[in-house]
Amino acid sequence: MEGVIIIENIKKLLDSIKRPVRLMEVCGTHTVAIFRHGIRKLLPEKILLISGPGCPVCVTSVEDVEKAMAIARNEDIIFTTFGDMMRVPGIEKNLSEVRAEGADVRVVYSPMDALRIASDNKDKKVVFFATGFETTSPSVAGTLFEADKLKIDNFYIYSAHKLVPPALDALLGSGEVNVDGFILPGHVSTIIGSRPYEFIAEKYRKPSVITGFDAEDILQGIYMLLEQIASNRAEVEIQYKKVVREEGNPKAVELMNEYFEPSDAYWRGIGTIPLSGLKLREKFRHRDISSAIKINISFAFGPQEPQGCSCGEILRGLKTPDQCPLFGCACTPESPVGACMVSTEGSCAAYYKYGGFI
């Protein structure tokens, strides 16, 4: 179906629903895509798109960033990370500043690059800052598999991995979030498939559609959500059939589960969500830098969000970035106050870049 026709059909469906509809796009890549394609401007006003917690950079806790910096400061350590994490604020500093002070912090494109660095620097411990959702954690598991196969013993990770379904469960369970349906992430779902989201329909009676990233995909996904709402159905559907299968990628999931097990995790701005993170299984603890060295941080467990920053409310879909008093004045992509402004996929950064059109 072509864009224009889909929009016509969306309008017709919306008329039959007879009330405003609030849809949450869970994934930061969708947030950016929706702005880029100007989707909000194409849609009737009665469809409100709100951004959710789906940017792994934004939800990495201050504690994890502080620990990453403490690890990086060790003289016999080479600390490797995805580039996005470099400017995520800890309490006072970020990884980029710690590097400027002399720590050996290197940006990598893949955890396999970090493994190569380990193989070339046997006298150092090489640590990979393992961040990201289910799209990324299998790659880290794959790298650990290679490390064992190649007997590279000086390779470690610090896991701050997060899982998408438990976060949605927590969000819906809190009762604070008022949404009629979910635009579910495409590439996370390439790995996990559609089944882990079934609770959204069963427990909360909300429709959800796993959606692709081009304009037509997104419009089609919204249309499928409206169809469910109009006919009072609640199911998990797949719009992004090109790469998402119901069973996901079983091989990737198996490897991820072999190395990692779910653990409670603290999401920046949201709080602790039970079993929403990944830690290494007992058998692989020797790859966990936390068990190899003592990590010294003076850190009181808790939110530690920068004062005045509304990231928490934004990640839960309760506020839009332009409702934050710091947005665009004290907080810009050049000098970000909160994590939502740091990542290119953060809601605040996307709003800033694309003009804050709601």
Binding site: V57, Y109, F133, T135, S139, H187, K242, S343
Partner: protein, 78 residues
Amino acid sequence: MCLAIPSRVIRIQDMNATVDVYGARRDISLLLLPEEVALGDFVLVHAGFAIQKVDNDAAHEALKYIKQIIEETEEDEL
């Protein structure tokens, strides 16, 4: 951060492959891929690993869109 990019397989050696994406070559791992690939196939690549096979048409469509994003998000790592 969760973006995966369709890339064309131009060399395969055991569980490793070289892919071409926008003319750049990258070595990736096929460890996570649930099915066999052949030379010329497109795979979705994330963080150095192929995570799914994609058919050619879908890959070309996605590549067009992703190119625009890459151009816009200067320092984004993918």
